[in-house]
Amino acid sequence: MSQPILLRERPPGARQLLMNGIFGENPVFRLALSLCPAVAVTTTVANGIMLGVAVLLVQVLSSVTVALTRRAIHPRVRIPVYTIIIAVWVSAIDMVLAGFFPSLYAQVGLYVKLIVAFAIIISRLEVFASRMPLIPTFWDGLGMGLGFLFALIVIGVFRELLGSGAILGYAVVPEKPLLFFALPAGGFFSIGLLMAFFNVLERRRNGGKASAGGGGGHGHG
């Protein structure tokens, strides 16, 4: 992260935006945004994937909607309008998931509805989609969504493997190594450990300098 992408003059390319969302500004590990669902649903990988896909769809769809309509939205009322756009897409995705994956939905349904209050989505709309044309906005939304999905899968694998010795429901280890990680308390520990791990990685890359990301930042969402 040499320079925030937004300060550059021309909209960056697709590949750069994707990598930025997944690694450089990963919503969970680096920006420390939208932590609630990251802890709540990641007891299994399947739950994490379900919520991650929902967030990905909502992020891309609402980013694209805002990019298309940004000239029509008066700056003064933009926040309520963004909220309504997100809420509409969340309701749509919510109904689709409830219809096609009823058993998974029964476990994460509440959190799918709560996507509407995720800080990551509205902050992306405010920071990126409201100022950039359609194509970069699409890639930015996709990158952020994929970054979120990636983070949920990492935490989900970590917790499911340690907690119940399985991945996606298939037993990998014969017994349950550390049941603790499948319990509510384990979720907090896993996030803390993974964040510290990402901080160490970042410090290595910066040659020992203190990192400013997930470590020092204050959480929202």
Partner: protein, 321 residues
Amino acid sequence: MVDRRRSRSRSVARWIALLAGVVLFMVALAATAVAAPPADGGFIQGARILVPDHLRLQLAGPAPALDPANFRLTDSRAPDVPIDIREVVAEPGNKVLLTVGERLDPSAAYRIEIREPAGARDVRPAPWALLLTVVLSSALINNFVFTRYLGLCIFFGVSKKRDTAVGMGITFSLVMILSAMLSWALFSLVMVPLQIRFLQVLVFIGVVAFLVQALDTILKKTHRSLHQKWGVYLMLITTNCIILAVPLLNAAADSGPAESFALALGSGIGFALALFLMSCAREKLELARVPVAFQGLPIAFTLAGLFALAFMGFSGLSFLR
């Protein structure tokens, strides 16, 4: 100076009294809704659970045959499985005391039937037991922060200092109760009859945003000092998951006004408690030497994990049973 301080404290008192009045009114409303008389039960006029394993019936006439086989008690969740009745004793005033073979839960619903003379009645949960259960379970057993992971955003952002944590907790609980009651009214009086349940996300976030904005405007005009102190927290509340989760949970469970109120109250208390505990611990943490990689959020998460571990102990909490 003194005069201004006095007027400020008076305005604070008036504001608190107003809020307390609203809350009391809602409690009264909720209590009447719960205590509404159920349909007539024929021969059985009243039934009350006496903890742990007694049921007292008020009959319309003299007690019938005091044979346990004459009575049938079932859990309303399992209407085919009769609960074993051990002993039936008549009491003065057309009352009968049943002793059953298992513990009865005062917050659950049962059904009592008499064969001869025929009569049946639903044993409604006692209002206090139901509300107490909901409040306790949402505040401690299913604490929103530590077992459902909601509101982590504000939880980690605001729990650095004890004063802010207390202010936030109080503001939060009040807004939560108001928004839950408002959403309940909208949901059950407007949305269900119109069959637009699927719009709940849209409507509830609108309700929360409207309420926060309205409170902010009113407070700014009428109680400037209060607004200066707590206005910041109000703005933070708008995009919070807990405040939105309470109406959603209420809607999913089709709760009545009393249960909605109890859930909002319990979650508010639970969140305030979590904030307070966490802020106390984090103030101590300032003095501790934390490994560089863990500084900031990682150590806060680990700390929250320890609290969550402690809160798991509450899952055994069921002194009503």
